[in-house]
Symmetry: C2
Subunit: 230 residues, 2 copies
């Protein structure tokens, strides 16, 4: 499940405070979920606590880590060393949680050899060699959207089956490949949507009034010279 990492992090904070056991209520509060959901999740993964007491922090932590596959470090290769790629390479949160950036790739030949976060940037053509060298690994796409699909194809061809995509593009990959998408503009747009609803401004100050289409009762903007409907 997608909530296991959240539980794991919450358990980490309890461990930092030297808490030995936690109840599902406490842990759920720290993770921001319902306690019943948490219990069901944990029971589903086969782990269990002690009735009347709760969950042993260290034991549960180890079990979840193991379930996720964090008992070993996963190699991560980052493609596209722009602003975002560099920030990711320098981000310390990876290595502390079971991941290790092993290679930085960029299509721009001028950047090859440049050192970022202690790693030399390698030409994109090295991809298959790097992937073969490290075995199963995770590819991170931090390129512009225009290059994302091509990079994804190359990653798949190199044997990478897990991709984290930061480019604002929909990637087409085989079913055997997992793609997770992180899209900053989408997150912002969702926030803007809710923000707009909260500030109940029915009409933008620079916009047209709404009109109501008698046929459907649906809101339709008048167009404001937008070259409306025929």
């Amino acid at each position: 499940m997608a909530r296991l990492p959240v539980y794991l992090r919450a358990l980490g904070t309890f461990a930092d405070r030297n808490v030995a056991t936690v109840s599902s209520e406490e842990l759920a509060g720290a993770a921001g979920v319902n306690s019943a959901k948490l219990r069901k999740d944990l029971s589903y993964l086969g782990s269990y606590g002690t009735r009347g007491v709760g969950y042993e922090v260290a034991y549960l932590r180890y079990q979840i880590s193991r379930q996720i596959g964090l008992t070993q470090d996963w190699p991560v290769l980052i493609v596209g060393i722009g602003n975002l790629g560099q920030a990711l390479a320098n981000y310390g949160g990876f290595v502390s949680r079971g991941f290790r950036v092993v290679a930085l790739l960029d299509a721009d030949p001028a950047r090859a050899g440049e050192v970022v976060a202690g790693l030399a940037v390698r030409p994109f053509a090295d991809l298959s060699a790097v992937a073969a060298e490290h075995g199963p690994c995770i590819g991170v796409i931090a390129t512009p959207a225009s290059a994302a699909q091509q990079v994804a194809g190359a990653l798949v061809a190199a044997g990478v089956r897990s991709i984290l995509n930061f480019a604002p593009a929909v990637l087409a990959v085989p079913d055997s490949v997992d793609v997770r998408k992180v899209d900053l503009s989408i997150e912002l747009q969702i926030l803007a949507y809710h923000e707009q609803r909260k500030t109940a401004r029915f009409v933008a100050l620079d916009g047209p009034d709404d009109v109501r289409d008698p046929r459907f009762g649906a809101e339709v903007p008048a167009g404001a010279g937008f070259g409306g409907r025929p």
Copy 2:
């Protein structure tokens, strides 16, 4: 809905190719969703196309933009000018999609005055003044996890009701405040989970064999000297 921005971007690619109308099938393909789902989403937001023809690209684009609230630029303020904060400030994808970074804040006094992406970094104490100056805006938390809750509280106190949180922490905010979370380690961990299941290595090379608890039939690791159960 959370898919509207995806549709909007797909429509953008059609507009760039000077396509006048798209069918739900085409648009759904570009957005990576089912066509029925797309039609239902669009009908739910009140917009509509033309039966037998499809959707007029420019018109639908305008309507979705308007629905999301992108007819005006939303001010964005970024708190925490570390690696990630700088990358976000320099990221061009914001301004092109209805957002404008208006302020950079950092708690470190030594950074005040530093210029990043054309903006001077301001001390964190300026937050309420900045928020008051720009009206409804979106706050981005790019600080370490330890500072995230405090920053969130300050943002809320300053009147910010939409927060994009990059820090690996669960934020407690009033119900009236929307928080969206972007967590790189969680995404990587989810990928690692699936990657581990794909490479069906039942036992990690450095880990213990699984044993089966006769009481529940659930998988339980032997512990490998982990200081197992009493």
